[in-house]
Point group: C2
């Protein structure tokens, strides 16, 4: 392709990994051990939906920056209270926060990354998950990135423009040679505002099989079916 891409950075929660089935499974297992019953996919969805307001609160300066693990923990406490699951103990709650370190990859993602590893394009994560989370997650899920980058390194969260610009600076590429890959239009729009190129990868199953399909965003540089297709386009 003709965009002259030298490096590509990837959203992880949703774009490369199926957080919903992974987290639902761990919630159900922890709940089962505690003798609790609940609509576990709904608990997982509520936990994930609490994410955006928590980020906005940090990015607006309303609450100070905290690592994602801590945000996940306080969101989990609120969601469990909301679903009447207060009986879940401390150890289980800490374990559930680590569920986000063990997310499963979407089936195409490992092979797509291997193809990109064999190309000239440098690949890196660019996630709101911390460096430790991402190192564990990518190792366990078989996601071969050339580099692990996290919003943590900018002391902020996406969609703060500083996060995208930090990635370009650390990777030593001009922003227009850096491609942001995500299934979330707002992530891509924020990246584009800082001068990055953008690739949209649809993940229709992100919110489960019954979720309404999302329309692809209009203003992206390219759309790929999945990560294998993306590798083909960039090769």
């Amino acid at each position: 392709m003709s965009l002259g891409i030298e490096a590509a950075v990837f959203d992880v929660f949703g774009t490369m990994t199926d957080w919903r089935s992974s987290v639902t499974g761990e919630l159900a297992a922890a709940g089962g051990r505690a003798g609790l019953q609940a609509d576990w996919p709904a608990v997982a969805d509520a936990w994930r939906r609490a994410y955006r307001p928590a980020l906005i609160s940090v990015l607006s300066g309303e609450t100070p920056y905290r690592p994602l693990d801590e945000l996940h923990r306080s969101m989990l406490d609120e969601v469990l209270a909301e679903f009447g699951l207060d009986a879940l103990g401390e150890t289980d709650r800490d374990g559930l926060v680590r569920a986000w370190h063990r997310l499963r990859a979407w089936p195409d993602a490992p092979h797509g990354l291997e193809l990109l590893h064999g190309s000239k394009v440098i690949t890196a994560t660019l996630s709101n998950g911390g460096v430790g989370l991402l190192a564990r997650l990518t190792k366990q899920a078989g996601l071969r990135f050339d580099c692990v980058l996290s919003a943590e390194l900018a002391g902020s969260y996406k969609p703060d423009p500083r996060v995208y610009l930090m990635a370009a600076e650390l990777l030593q590429v001009e922003p227009r040679r850096l491609l942001m890959v995500a299934c979330h239009p707002d992530d891509l729009a924020a990246a584009a505002k800082t001068g990055l190129r953008t690739a949209y990868v649809p993940r229709p199953l992100e919110w489960g099989p019954d979720a309404a399909p999302a329309a692809p965003p209009a203003d992206v540089d390219l759309i790929a079916d999945d990560i294998v297709d993306l590798a083909r386009i960039l090769a």
Copy 2:
């Protein structure tokens, strides 16, 4: 083994890569294009020897922090002048700075890292090279790390204790569960002072076949023949 190691961080220049033959080859190629003759291994050695004083100058506060590429460039200018090689042009000098992004791995290093990738131990670089340098180098050299960490992320250089402690914090491991792997006793001694465990890997060819063999350091937690042996010990 019984050290309870959860993650291992690796020195790169010397420990994982043969900087001397790589840089000598690029110096000879650039010099040849410019019609210059010199004892190229000696030029490479002089360039590398200028490294420690440059770091000490930064760490003592005498000169401000600059990325390693910039340090490499000003050291190169001095070394070329010293060897009467001023005729080497700007483009070649910039290219030679990038020679450090393209170092060859020692023969055992790729396989050793693959073995560690299949273990529970998280692996990361911990080098004075920048993130962009390390991402390119590890990709080209076939060095599969789970994470790329650089002293650049602490805005400093090894052996500043902040660099080792930053690695433990970002990887979310206690310092005593983190192993520093290096062929340089001073790197290991500085890591040990911050509470990290240490592994010495001898690289008798680092300074070429005629260099005097170095004695292994006394105060390390383990000594491995090479990275494959290290993987076996940690498994």
